[in-house]
C-alpha cells in the first residue's frame, strides 16, 4: 500500500515537474548512479525472490544482473525494487526503475499506450489453473460455477473473464492486490481455483500448507510471453536490454558457458569471436565495452544455465524447457545473429 502510494506520488511528481528526466539517456544515468535499478517480483520462486539473507535470485533477477555485468563488469551493482503487479508499470513510467524484469506479459496495449517498450521474450508462458485434488476436477472446462482467486492488474484477470465467457460458464472472481494474498486466500479455502501463469502455479504451490493436495489442470488458456520492459523513446537503452537477452541465447546456441568462456575466447569460430568481442566492435555500438558478452557469461551464464539454475532441473520447480528451449531443439527461443 505504502509502495503504491509512493509510486503514484513519484509518478505524478515526475510527470508534472520532471520532464527533463526523460531527456537524459538511461545508460548515462545508470553509469552516473553506479548501479542499475531493476523492478522485480516481490516473491515468485524461480523468477524473482529474496532469500533469508536478502540476496535476490531468479530468472528475471539474473537478467538484471546480466545487464549490470555488461555495463559495470559487476553483477552485484543492481538495486532490486520489489513491485506488485499493479504498481510495476507506473514505477517504470516515472523513472523509479531503469528496467522492469518482472514476468510481465507483452501485450499490444501495454506496448503502445503506456509509454513503454518490451524488448524481447525471456520466458514463454501461458495461464493455467490450480485446484484441490479432492474437488475431483480434471479439466478447466469443468469449473462452471467455481470461485476463482486471481491477482488484480494482470492479464490473468482479463483472460479469466474471456475463458469463462467463451466457454459459456459462470464463475465468481475474488481479486487481490498481491500474489501472496491471492494464494493465501486460495489456500484458506476462499476459492475453488487459483489462476496465474503456469510457471507461477508451480512456484506458488510450493508455498501451500500441503503442496500434494493441489493439482495443476492441463489446460493453458492464453499466450503469456513474458519479457523485460523499458521506457519508450530511449532506443539506445532498449538496444542494450534487448541484446543482453540475445547474447545469452546466442551463447547457449554456440555452446559458450560460464565454465568454458575463457577457453572460448581463443576460439576460431567467427560467430563466437563476434559474440565475445574478439572480432568487430559490436559492444561499443550499443554503448558498452566490446567484451560485454564475456562479462555477462562469466558472471551470470548463458540462457540455458540461467534457466536450469532458477526454474529447471537445478531448482525445486523442475520446469521442463518446453517452449523455452532453443529453436534448434524444438523450442521458441531464437536470437538474431551478432554481425
Amino acid at each position: 500500500m505504502k509502495r503504491a502510494i509512493a509510486t503514484i506520488a513519484v509518478g505524478l511528481a515526475a510527470s508534472l515537474f520532471a520532464g527533463a528526466a526523460f531527456a537524459q539517456s538511461t545508460l548515462n544515468n545508470v553509469k552516473q548512479k553506479g548501479f542499475l535499478t531493476c523492478g522485480s517480483n516481490p516473491g515468485l520462486a524461480g523468477f524473482g525472490v529474496p532469500d533469508a539473507q536478502g540476496n535476490w535470485t531468479g530468472l528475471d533477477v539474473d537478467f538484471c544482473r546480466a545487464i549490470a555485468a555488461a555495463i559495470f563488469n559487476d553483477p552485484t551493482k543492481v538495486r532490486f525494487i520489489p513491485l506488485s503487479a499493479k504498481d510495476r508499470f507506473t514505477a517504470l513510467q516515472s523513472g523509479e526503475i531503469d528496467v522492469l524484469a518482472r514476468n510481465s506479459t507483452w501485450t499490444m496495449s501495454r506496448d503502445t499506450q503506456l509509454g513503454l517498450d518490451f524488448t524481447g521474450i525471456n520466458y514463454y508462458d501461458g495461464q493455467g489453473f490450480m485446484v484441490r485434488k479432492k474437488l475431483g476436477v480434471s479439466s478447466a472446462k469443468e469449473l462452471n460455477g467455481a470461485t476463482v482467486c486471481t491477482q488484480q492488474g494482470t492479464t490473468t484477470e482479463l483472460n479469466l473473464a474471456d475463458f469463462f465467457r467463451s466457454n459459456n460458464m459462470k464463475y465468481e472472481v475474488v481479486a487481490f492486490a498481491t500474489a501472496d494474498e491471492t494464494f493465501k486466500a486460495y489456500d484458506a479455502g476462499r476459492c475453488d481455483a487459483f489462476t496465474t501463469d503456469a510457471s507461477g502455479l508451480y512456484a506458488e504451490r510450493l508455498k501451500a500448507a500441503n503442496p500434494d493436495e493441489h493439482i495443476v489442470l492441463p489446460e493453458i488458456i492464453s499466450k503469456e510471453p513474458l519479457g523485460p520492459v523499458v521506457r519508450h523513446g530511449d532506443n539506445q537503452w532498449a538496444d542494450i536490454v534487448r541484446w543482453v537477452h540475445f547474447a545469452m541465447l546466442n551463447a547457449e546456441e554456440l555452446g559458450v558457458s560460464k565454465a568454458n568462456v575463457d577457453q572460448q575466447l581463443k576460439s576460431e569460430n567467427p560467430e563466437i569471436k563476434r559474440l565475445l568481442g574478439t572480432e568487430g566492435k559490436f559492444g561499443e555500438a550499443i554503448g558498452v565495452t566490446n567484451d560485454w558478452a564475456v562479462r555477462i557469461i562469466k558472471h551470470v551464464g548463458n540462457y540455458g544455465e540461467v534457466f536450469e539454475r532458477n526454474v529447471g532441473a537445478g531448482s525445486p520447480l523442475k520446469i521442463q524447457r518446453g517452449q523455452n528451449a532453443l529453436w534448434t531443439k524444438g523450442g521458441l527461443q531464437y536470437a538474431p545473429p551478432i554481425r
Binding site: M1, A4, I8, G11, L12, S15, L16, F17, G19, F22, A85, K86, F89, T90, Q93, S109, R110, T112, Q113, L114, G115, L135, L143, N144, G145, A146, T147, Q152, G153, T154, E157, L158, L160, A161, D162, R165, Y171, E172, V173, V174, A175, F176, A177, E181, A185, A188, G189, R190, D192, R231, H232, G233
Partner: protein, 469 residues
C-alpha cells in the same frame, strides 16, 4: 481580519497604506498565483504524457472493461460493461460499507463510551480495555486479523452451516398440556413469592425458580410442541464463500409494502411531533415508541397480508441452491465485506467512544444533580438532560470520525473487497495505465464524499446548537 481593522481606522494618505486595498491586492495575487500553478501543472503534465507516449484523456471510461468484480450492486459484466461502469460499481461498494459502517460504529461507540462512564467497575474496565487495545493497533493489522478470523473457522461450501426457517404447525396434545401447566405454575409461584416471602433472599430465589419454569415452558412451546417446525433443508447457508440468505423477489402489487412503510415512517414522525407539542401544552404523555413501532412495522405487514389475500403473495423468496462448487441464487454477503465492516466498525467505535465520553464529561455535574432533584430517573437524566447537551461537544469530532471511516474503507485493497480504490485505482489504473486521470478522479470522489458528509453534519450541528433567546 484585516478588513475589520480597516473599518475601525479610516484610510488616509497613499492607497498603498490602506489596509483594505492591501488585503484585496494580496488576495488577488494569491488567487492568480494558485491558478497559474494549477494551469502550469496541468499543461506540463499533458505535454509530458504526450512526449512519453502515454495515453491520456478520459475516453478510457467508455472502453469495455473485460474483467469481473465479485460484488456488484448494479448490473455489471466483463463483456458488456465499461471502465466507467467499473468505477460506479467500486463507488457504490465504498458507499455501502461506509454507510453501514457509520451507523454501526455510532451505535457501538455510544455504548462503549457510556460503558466507560458506568459505575459498574467490570463494565467500565472492559470498555477501557476495548478502547485502549483497538485504538492502539494499526487498522490494517486488524483488517487482516478479521479477514482470517472470519475465513478460517468457516467450512467449505459442501459442508455449509445451515440456517433453518420455521413454519407454523399445530401443537400436540401432550406438549400443550405440559406448556399450560408449566406456565400456570410459573405464574402462581411468582405471585406467591411476592406475597409470602419473608426475606429478600427468599424473594430472589422464588422469582428465579419461577423464571426458570416459565422459560422451560416457553422453550417446550416454541421448539418441542410442534407449533413451530423447521423447514426441510436450510433457507440460509454460511460457509467460507460468505453468508447466503433468501433473496426477496418482488411480484405484482409488491410496491404496496414499501409504500406502506413510507406512510408508516411519515406517520410515526408526525405522531412524535404532535405528541411532543401535546406534552408541552398539557403535560400529558403518549407511548410514542409503541405507536411508532406499530406504524413502521405494522402497516407494511398489513399491506403485505392484504395484497396476499387479494392478489396472491407479492413477495416470494429465492432460496440459495447447492451446486457443484458453490451456492447459487439468493443474497450473498461476501466474507471480505464482513471482515472490512467489522474491522472498520470496531476500530472507529473505539474513537467514537472517547468522543462520547468527553462530550458527557463536558456536561456539568450540576445538570445531573438538578435533573435528579426534579425526580428524573437515571435513564431519563441521560436521555433528556445529559446527552442533548453533550451532543454539542460530540458532533464536530464525530464528523471527523465519520470521514475517517469512509477514507479508511480504502484499506479494503488488502483483503480483496472491491471498493473504489481496489477496482478503480487497482485494476482499472493498471489495465489502462492512465494514472493521472484515475488518481485525479479518485481524489475528487473522496473529496466530494467527505464534503457532503461534513455539510450534513454541520447542518445537524447547527440544529443541535444552543438556541440563544
Amino acid at each position: 481580519m484585516p478588513t475589520e481593522a480597516g473599518a475601525q481606522a479610516p484610510a488616509r494618505g497613499s492607497l498603498a497604506y490602506d489596509p483594505r486595498v492591501r488585503a484585496a491586492v494580496y488576495q488577488i495575487v494569491l488567487v492568480l498565483l494558485v491558478t497559474f500553478l494549477i494551469y502550469e501543472a496541468a499543461t506540463n503534465a499533458i505535454a509530458n504524457l504526450r512526449a512519453a507516449k502515454i495515453a491520456s484523456g478520459f475516453g478510457f471510461l467508455e472502453v469495455t472493461s473485460g474483467f469481473d468484480i465479485s460484488q456488484t450492486l448494479v448490473p455489471y459484466s466483463a463483456a458488456a460493461s465499461t471502465y466507467g461502469d467499473a468505477f460506479l460499481v467500486g463507488l457504490l461498494n465504498t458507499l455501502l460499507v461506509a454507510a453501514i459502517g457509520i451507523v454501526l460504529a455510532t451505535v457501538l461507540g455510544f455504548i462503549v463510551g457510556l460503558a466507560r462512564l458506568s459505575r459498574n467497575w467490570v463494565v467500565a474496565k472492559l470498555a477501557t480495555v476495548y478502547v485502549e487495545v483497538i485504538r492502539n493497533l494499526p487498522l490494517l493489522l486488524q483488517l487482516l486479523f478479521w479477514y482470517n478470523a472470519v475465513l478460517a473457522p468457516l467450512p467449505a461450501p459442501r459442508e455449509s452451516l445451515r440456517i433453518y426457517g420455521v413454519t407454523l404447525g399445530a401443537p400436540g396434545m401432550f406438549a400443550s398440556l405440559v406448556v399450560l401447566v408449566g406456565l400456570a405454575a410459573a405464574y402462581l409461584l411468582w405471585r406467591a413469592t411476592e406475597r409470602l416471602a419473608r426475606s429478600p433472599l427468599e424473594r430472589t430465589l422464588g422469582k428465579i425458580a419461577a423464571t426458570i419454569i416459565g422459560v422451560l415452558a416457553g422453550f417446550v412451546l416454541l421448539f418441542r410442541s410442534g407449533l413451530l417446525e423447521a423447514t426441510e433443508g436450510g433457507i440460509g447457508f454460511l460457509n467460507n464463500r460468505g453468508l447466503f440468505l433468501p433473496k426477496p423477489l418482488f411480484g405484482e402489487g409488491a410496491w404496496l409494502v414499501p409504500a406502506a412503510l413510507a406512510v408508516g415512517l411519515v406517520g410515526a414522525v408526525a405522531f412524535r411531533v404532535w405528541a411532543k407539542r401535546r406534552q408541552e401544552a398539557t403535560g400529558e404523555q403518549y407511548p410514542v415508541g409503541l405507536v411508532a413501532f406499530g406504524l413502521i412495522a405494522g402497516l407494511p405487514a398489513l399491506a403485505w397480508v392484504a395484497t396476499a389475500l387479494v392478489a396472491g403473495n407479492p413477495i416470494s423468496f429465492e432460496i440459495p441452491q447447492q451446486q457443484r462448487f458453490n451456492l447459487r441464487g439468493g443474497l450473498q454477503v461476501l466474507p471480505e465485506f464482513v471482515a472490512l465492516l467489522v474491522g472498520l466498525v470496531t476500530y472507529t467505535a473505539g474513537f467514537i467512544a472517547e468522543v462520547v465520553r468527553a462530550g458527557i464529561l463536558a456536561v456539568s455535574r450540576g445538570q445531573t444533580e438538578a435533573a435528579a432533584s426534579l425526580g428524573l430517573r437515571p435513564g431519563q437524566i441521560l436521555r433528556l438532560v445529559v446527552v442533548p447537551q453533550a451532543m454539542r461537544v460530540i458532533i464536530p469530532p464525530l464528523t471527523s470520525q465519520y470521514l475517517n471511516l469512509t477514507k479508511n474503507s480504502s484499506l479494503a485493497v488488502a483483503i480483496g473487497y472491491p471498493d473504489l480504490v481496489q477496482v478503480f485505482m487497482g485494476t482499472v489504473l493498471n489495465q489502462t495505465g492512465q494514472a493521472v486521470e484515475v488518481v485525479a478522479i479518485t481524489m475528487a470522489v473522496y473529496l466530494t464524499i467527505s464534503l457532503i458528509t461534513s455539510a450534513f453534519m454541520n447542518y445537524y450541528n447547527s440544529r443541535m446548537a444552543i438556541v440563544e433567546r
